[in-house]
């Protein structure tokens, strides 16, 4: 007869033969758990991700330039292949400012600036040039740090980093891609100097899954499994999406607008960033300006810490690295207040770069908009026609490689002779 917990225990012991009693038994259970995790990947293998999985790669016809970033939720982060011995790989990291989208009636041109640069420098030091684009939509400063860590660990021959001035020192959102935390933990685990920045973003769950992902394919590929499983789980959903209701034409109430928000930043932008009435229903351009004007340059923000670590790892990496600030639209720069705000950001960035100098690192802290002729923009930060920028960056990449004596030859082709 079962009267208390002890009786339950002895009953279980009788059936289970005393499993789980004693350290050796627990150890065997752990061993079986390991076997189980290995078995899952063996019994239910997954297809590895492909470049064509990224819709952005459909805009890049060249086989030598590819977006290597995986889905925003995918903890694997990036899809990295070795390009062989006779190759020179440039890891080009940046947010949406890497794109060049020119919309004209009947014909839209969609390219990536690094891919265009690659066409102008098809060969470096006698080797074929490859550009791995660590393109991160809506990247914040910590995301760029995570991508830089991944790029440095990928064995790339050079790193180029695009620092969008809207977000370098804006504390409204410091990280947008927390899915990179697991791999970032693995990258910084052996670098105690990076632990302080990691501790601010990486939680125990990220660390555990990051380490486990290194050893178990079933955990590493969990995003692919989640996609497969979710396809079947939709069958259980009570939400009937077969006949969607017609979209309402009525203006939304303030509460309905809040209900539609999917990101805390949207609430912040609407209600906190600016007190002006225009911002309440402001366009993307107005919001971008607010982000630029809202930068905090006290020198003691999380952003400062991340930028310092970012420059630190690039300076110590002993491989050529080039950092630049993309241009702001001339129409916005005509406003003295915006130009002054950008100048303050440039000055602060240059001061931080001066503290982390390295023989192979060059930081072009002055926005390219101050150097290049006026270009066509889609808003204040996204260029529509990037011709001058492509030429400038092609020469900047080659100059950096030659000045640091990293390579013997690097020649920029004229636009007419650009290779596919």
């Amino acid at each position: 007869m079962i009267l208390n917990v002890k009786d339950v225990q002895s009953e279980l012991d009788r059936y289970a033969g005393g499993a789980g009693k004693g350290p050796l038994s627990l150890l065997r259970i752990v061993a079986w758990t390991v076997v189980g995790l290995l078995l899952i990947a063996f019994v239910w293998p997954t297809q590895p991700p492909k470049y064509s999985d990224s819709a952005y790669n459909h805009h890049i016809p060249s086989p030598f330039s590819k977006v290597v970033t995986l889905d925003k939720n995918d903890p694997r982060g990036f899809l990295l292949h070795k390009h062989g011995k006779n190759s020179f790989t440039i890891a080009w990291i940046g947010p949406s400012t890497l794109q060049s989208i020119n919309k004209v009636p009947g014909h839209t041109t969609y390219t990536f600036i690094p891919a265009d640069v690659r066409q102008r420098i098809p060969v470096i030091d006698g080797k074929r040039t490859y550009v791995d684009l660590y393109f991160i939509e809506g990247a914040r400063i910590m995301d760029l740090y995570a991508a830089t860590q991944a790029a440095l660990h990928s064995g790339a021959d050079m790193v180029v980093l695009d620092l969008n001035p809207l977000w370098i020192y804006n504390t409204a959102e410091v990280q947008g891609w927390p899915n990179l935390n697991g791999i970032t933990f693995n990258h910084i685990a052996k670098s105690p100097s990076q632990w302080s920045v990691g501790a601010q973003f990486i939680g125990p769950a990220d660390a555990t899954s990051g380490v486990a992902g290194k050893y178990f394919k079933s955990i590493y590929n969990r995003w692919t499994y989640a996609q497969k499983v979710n396809r079947h789980l939709n069958w259980f959903s009570v939400l009937d999406t077969s006949v969607p209701p017609p979209a309402s034409t009525k203006p939304l109430s303030p509460l309905q607008r809040i209900a539609q928000m999917t990101d805390p930043l949207q609430f912040w932008v609407k209600y906190r960033v600016s007190g002006s009435a225009a911002s309440q229903h402001g366009s993307a351009i107005e919001r971008q300006l607010q982000f630029l004007l809202g930068s905090t340059l006290s020198g003691s923000t999380v952003n400062d810490d991340v930028v310092a670590h970012l420059f630190g790892i690039l300076a110590k990496s002993n491989r050529p690295a080039y950092v630049y600030v993309p241009p702001i639209a001339p129409t916005a720069m005509a406003n003295a207040r915006i130009s002054a705000a950008l100048a303050r950001i440039e000055h602060h960035l240059a001061a931080q770069a001066a503290q982390h100098q390295g023989p192979y690192l060059k930081v072009q802290a002055q926005s390219l908009g101050r150097i290049l002729p006026p270009m066509k923009f889609n808003d204040i930060i996204h260029v529509a026609e990037a011709g001058p920028m492509v030429t400038y960056l092609s020469h900047a990449v080659c100059n950096q490689l030659l000045h640091t004596h990293s390579v013997q030859t690097c020649k920029v082709l004229p636009p007419a002779k650009a290779a596919p």
Partner: protein, 39 residues
């Protein structure tokens, strides 16, 4: 007999634990597509 029962129970617990860990980790990965809003 008792030892066989013990070892087989340990194997079952271990494998089930692996399954639970796998399901928990798969369930906590989001698959909702990201919509970029221009900033």
């Amino acid at each position: 007999m008792n030892r066989l029962r013990k070892y087989s129970t340990e194997a079952i617990i271990g494998i089930v634990l692996a399954g639970l860990i796998f399901v928990a980790l798969v369930a906590t990965v989001g698959t909702v597509p990201f919509i970029y809003q221009g900033y």
